[in-house]
Amino acid sequence: MAQLSIRSVSKSYGAVQVLDDVSVEVEEGSFVVLLGPSGCGKSTLLHAVAGLNPIDSGTIVIGDRNVTNLPARDRDVAMVFQSYALYPTMTVAQNIAFPLKMRGLDRRTSDEKVAGVARLLQIEPLLARLPRELSGGQRQRVAIGRALVRDPRLFLFDEPLSNLDAALRTELRAEIKRLHQSIRRTMVYVTHDQTEALTLADKIVVLKAGRIEQTGTPLSLYDDPDNAFVAGFIGTPRMNFLKAVVVDDGKALTTGEARVDISHLKTKLENGKTVTLGIRPEHLDEKQGVALPLAVDVTERLGSTSYVHGALPSGETVVAERREDQPRFGETITLRFKPGLARVFDGDGNRIR
């Protein structure tokens, strides 16, 4: 049974539709990431689940309780905010103990629980400090501690790492992952960072303009995107999109001089139809396959690998991974890819399988 189910939730601010018939099922103990660009409605959805944002229509069920009309305090969820949202006038210990105090827990049990959480998150030396005396990473740890201490049915994370610098973000990301693996609690996590989504999630829900674009495991979204938006949003550097035309009675595409075999597609395409061919940068470093000539513009050397930016004869820009050589500006190299790894999208961006 699902621990959280969001059924046909819609919400608009005036004329702006922020959530449009969104449905998500979250299994007990799983880690679900709501992923999308800013303004896609993902935070609004999370606030709606927390009970901080009323919804216009739809149902939200946590466990076996319909909580749609319950206030936040009765939903038994814990939330970690992007801005940390610590209580500025309370010490770290008081911050973590606050949810327990609101539930009328006695002082001794409360102190024990706070100490336990502090040990788990390694923030014991900070307990007597005020939030403003902490660094960003420490504040977010305290905020996570405040969520953990109560053992709620559902953890909500609203872009918890966005205000941290890159190194801390990687560190805390791993820590959140470890935390989830050790306590096995249901977590819903909002982010615009696809790396966070891919590394943390059991299931990713990709949102765009208040609608769900695709739901699936990280690898299925990566390998088998339903549309050009998901294909482009997930994966870094992003997928290359090339204009292509159907030829040979739907058995092949031509893009520039190259001819790409698509006889493996189940859908039959008409000759002359214009489609979009999507190829990931890492799939352009093959020894054989379809060849594309690339005029090199910039090479980014990352140590273990390099990314080459350049243009095709058609003028379309392409990013390709190069593991062995590092071509320089002005050179023309040949990129090769296997037709089976390329994805085909129609004029509306929908995937053709």
Partner: protein, 293 residues
């Protein structure tokens, strides 16, 4: 070690002379006032003043009218500050939601602050007129017996207090509202998720965040209330039967009715010292060194 930039900061040539001038002016004036308060300078006996030491201060301690005025100042300041802060805060919390004509209400709140004390005092005198005033008219509608607002020694001080509250509560509202609007809202939402009821959100999270702003407003209001003069002058002139005579007002009477300049200055010094001690105590209570700094 001091940073080089601070040591050779050329902007100090602009502010240092000003600080020196201001310091000299206030130190010289204070010393001069203390010097005169140690004499028996009176405009009624011009040219016959002599040094009397602490006589004026000893006289103050034995002057029942002065002690009563001091007590009235304390009472008025405490009541005005506490009521204005409490009322202002209540109004701010009430206004902190979206409703129609919110802007209009906020603009109307400014009216009492803009009005000059003379107009405010006269308006309230008319309202409190025992025979023709609005206050008694309203009481009569409710069938309550009439009150001699400004004519009764037991009531007059509180009538002035009402006018003061009417004029200065909006000031508290403005400053606290500004503090509220700049306060982050995420901690309030966090508290709701953490299981707090709305009053608990306000009590445990919002009010502590507003504490500094409230403390500063309280200090400003307390200082203003101690110095209050205009409303008393216009509404009651210290009467009836000296029942609204504050220490500040008594000092004015001593100086400009009795022309006893030295004693008036002694009163002013006492008021200043008393005020400073009281406010510094209040300040150290509101801003403890180990707390919000």
């Amino acid at each position: 070690m001091r940073p080089v930039a601070a040591a050779s900061d050329p902007t100090k040539h602009f502010f240092q002379p000003i600080i020196v001038c201001l310091t000299m002016a206030s130190v010289a004036l204070t010393l001069f006032v203390i010097w005169i308060s140690l004499h028996d300078l009176s405009l009624m006996r011009a040219g016959r003043e002599k040094f009397v030491g602490l006589d004026n201060y000893i006289r103050f301690l034995g002057d029942p009218r002065a002690m009563a005025a001091l007590w009235r100042s304390v009472l008025f300041t405490t009541l005005a500050t506490v009521i204005e802060i409490a009322l202002g805060l209540a109004v701010v919390l009430f206004l902190d939601r979206d409703f129609a004509m919110k802007r209009l209400v906020r603009t109307l709140l400014l009216v009492p602050i803009i009005m000059t004390p003379v107009v405010v005092g006269l308006t309230w005198r008319f309202l409190f007129d025992p025979a023709t005033g609005m206050a008694n008219y309203l009481l009569s509608l409710g069938g309550i017996s009439l009150v001699d607002w400004l004519g009764s020694p037991q009531i007059a001080l509180f009538s002035v207090l009402i006018a003061d509250i009417w004029q200065w509560t909006p000031f508290v509202i403005l400053l606290v509202m500004a503090a509220l609007e700049s306060a982050p809202t995420d901690p309030l939402n966090a508290a709701r998720v953490d299981g707090a009821r709305e009053w608990q959100v306000t009590w445990y999270v919002l009010l502590p965040m507003l504490r500094r702003a409230l403390a500063i407003v309280a200090l400003i209001r307390a200082i203003d209330s101690i110095k209050a003069f205009d409303l008393f002058y216009i509404m009651t002139r210290g009467g009836p039967a000296l029942s609204t005579e504050t220490l500040n007002y008594y000092g004015y009477i001593v100086a400009f009715t009795n022309f006893d300049i030295s004693y008036a200055l002694a009163i002013a010094i006492i008021l200043t010292v008393f005020t400073n001690v009281a406010l510094l105590t209040m300040y150290s209570v509101l801003f403890p060194k180990t707390g919000d700094r």
